[in-house]
């Protein structure tokens, strides 16, 4: 595969090989290219009629279906910039995003709605915009170039045992960087994607899995917690060759049984680490190390490089010494955006400060041991704790939010609860809907007071001990 060619251009290069399956529908790479050409013509027609600019900003409601795949690939082929949306996004949140970015077009499967035909000043490299947290309704987007997407897909196919004859099944949203990276890497090698809308715990999912002899799948920590409860390690899945985990930390006592299952059944299990800011992937752990090093994220992906820096920005060279994990590689984003004017130009980034604290062991594998930034990852989604505090403050509820990759903790004072007649359970359900996370991972507790440190800052460790009581 020549590096100069983007995976999304000239899809016909893989001819009759199956590219995607959705229900009864199967399309070859040849047919996928034809569908892209047709969709491109539809776009051109609208553009001609309205004299639209050449490079447009397009919002795409990203369903796990072939129509979305066609729209996504067409926008990339035409060098537009596409922002992938959760198809279930609230209309009010969508309206806010549209007001912030003023997209030319809004696409939902085959439906194209033109918002306006005015030219927008967009950085020529801008290809893809992804949200890091679909949940808090923040307008913040990670802006990626076609080079970013191509580079990350190339790295992924280098370290994962991906074959052109492979079939994978979608288990993650299309608009989520990890889910998207699975699609991109499969398209790069000419493999096949089976689109699935069912949950891992449904009969329909496992029927599709067996019917299509699926070779690989991806999961976030919560996916694997479900699979273990389903006694995944007792399932007979002869077609499965490898499975991957990313999107937050999976506990070591969950990684080990998965690793043992893989080892005993001639399969491979890959624990990976990444961020949307790095397109998707930054590190992976060699599958043979999963059982013995269940805490590690392994080493940087091919083409990437890690370093560790102490609080003064000095390079850490000794093993076992922790500092902020810094990544370099061609998959680092162009930058962040909060509105249309941020898309005009980007200052090139040489490195990405991950916000994670890590150390390197004596064999060169990295272990994450903390986080500088105040966010947690639930269901693979990043939840900014300060944004949740603001969300509740806007309801007149002063609180502290904290937690880890298994739960969100909210501390309110007894006074606030009493004065505002707060029903804790109702508040939990409201927050669950607002953040689109299951209520079981939210824990709201009244406390006597919200403590401050001597410097007048919010004392999170103190409130955490109060919550533990």
């Amino acid at each position: 595969m020549p590096v100069s060619q983007f995976f999304f251009d000239n899809l016909a290069r893989y001819g009759e090989a199956p590219a995607a399956i959705e229900g009864e529908l199967q399309v070859s790479y040849q047919q996928l290219q034809v569908r892209c050409a047709e969709f491109s013509q539809q776009l051109n027609q609208i553009n001609k009629q309205t004299n639209s600019p050449q490079k447009q900003l397009i919002f795409l409601k990203a369903h796990n279906n072939i129509a979305t795949l066609v729209a996504y690939l067409t926008t990339l082929q035409n060098r537009h910039a596409v922002l992938l949306l959760d198809p279930d996004i609230d209309q009010s949140k969508l309206d806010k995003l549209i007001a912030s970015y003023q997209p030319n077009l809004l696409i939902d499967s085959q439906t194209i709605e033109q918002c306006h035909s005015k030219p927008l000043v967009l950085e020529s490299k801008l290809a893809l915009l992804l949200s890091t947290s679909g949940s808090t309704g923040s307008a913040k987007q990670v802006c990626l170039s076609a080079d970013n997407v191509q580079a990350n897909a190339l790295s992924i196919v280098e370290y994962l045992p991906l074959l052109a004859s492979d079939k994978t099944i979608t288990t993650l949203p299309f608009y989520y960087s990890y889910g998207l990276s699975v699609l991109n890497s499969h398209l790069l090698v000419g493999a096949c994607i089976v689109f699935n809308q069912h949950s891992l715990v449904s009969r329909e999912f496992w029927q599709l899995f067996k019917q299509h002899n699926i070779n690989s799948f991806a999961g976030v920590p919560q996916s694997y917690e479900m699979l273990l409860r389903l006694r995944f390690e007792r399932m007979d899945l002869p077609s499965l060759r490898y499975f991957t985990q990313a999107g937050g930390k999976l506990a070591a006592d969950k990684i080990q049984p998965l690793a043992r299952y893989a080892n005993a059944n001639d399969k491979q299990f890959f624990v990976m680490y990444g961020q949307t800011e790095a397109t998707a992937r930054m590190a992976y752990l060699k599958s043979e190390l999963c059982e013995t090093k269940p805490h590690a994220i392994g080493q940087a992906i091919p083409g990437g490089q890690f370093s560790l820096h102490d609080e003064h920005g000095e390079l850490i060279t000794q093993p076992e010494e922790s500092g902020e994990l810094i990544y370099r590689g061609t998959n680092i984003m162009l930058g962040y955006a909060n509105c249309l004017s941020d898309l005009t130009e980007f200052t090139p980034l040489n490195e990405l400060a991950t916000g994670d604290i890590a150390y390197r062991d004596s064999e060169g594998d990295y272990v994450i041991c903390g986080r500088i930034k105040r966010f947690i990852k639930l269901f693979g989604l990043r939840i900014n704790l300060d944004e949740v505090e603001t969300l509740l403050a806007n309801k007149g509820l002063e609180c502290y939010c904290l937690g880890d990759d298994t739960k969100l903790l909210v501390a309110l004072t007894n006074d606030v609860v009493a004065q505002q007649h707060i029903d804790i359970n109702e508040l939990k359900m409201w927050l669950s809907r607002e953040l689109q996370i299951n209520h079981n991972v939210i824990n709201i507790k009244p406390v006597a007071q919200l403590p401050l440190t001597n410097n007048g800052k919010k004392d999170y460790p103190a409130v955490l001990t109060m919550l533990d009581d």
Partner: protein, 80 residues
């Protein structure tokens, strides 16, 4: 009747719903609270409450309150 109460409690706690919402017509995905995550928590609650381990097929098939009773009957849990 004690078993029925135990099962109802597993449903109200894992799905975060009121006891009066638990009925035979309560099915998976019929309320937003009963999603795949809540389903696995429900399974854990049921396994703990009745001190048993459900088979994969039973976990997948337990898609309504009525179904849960039918499946548990196979494990000799009596609801009559």
């Amino acid at each position: 009747m004690q078993n029925l109460e135990k099962l109802s409690k597993a449903f109200t706690e894992s799905l975060g719903i009121e006891p009066q919402q638990v009925s035979d017509t309560l099915t998976y995905n019929s309320i937003p609270q009963w999603d795949s995550t809540a389903h696995m928590i429900l399974i854990a609650e049921i396994e703990n409450a009745f001190n048993l381990m459900l088979d994969t097929d039973d976990i997948i098939d337990m898609s309504s309150f009525a179904q849960a009773k039918a499946i548990l009957a196979k494990y000799e849990i009596d609801f009559n």
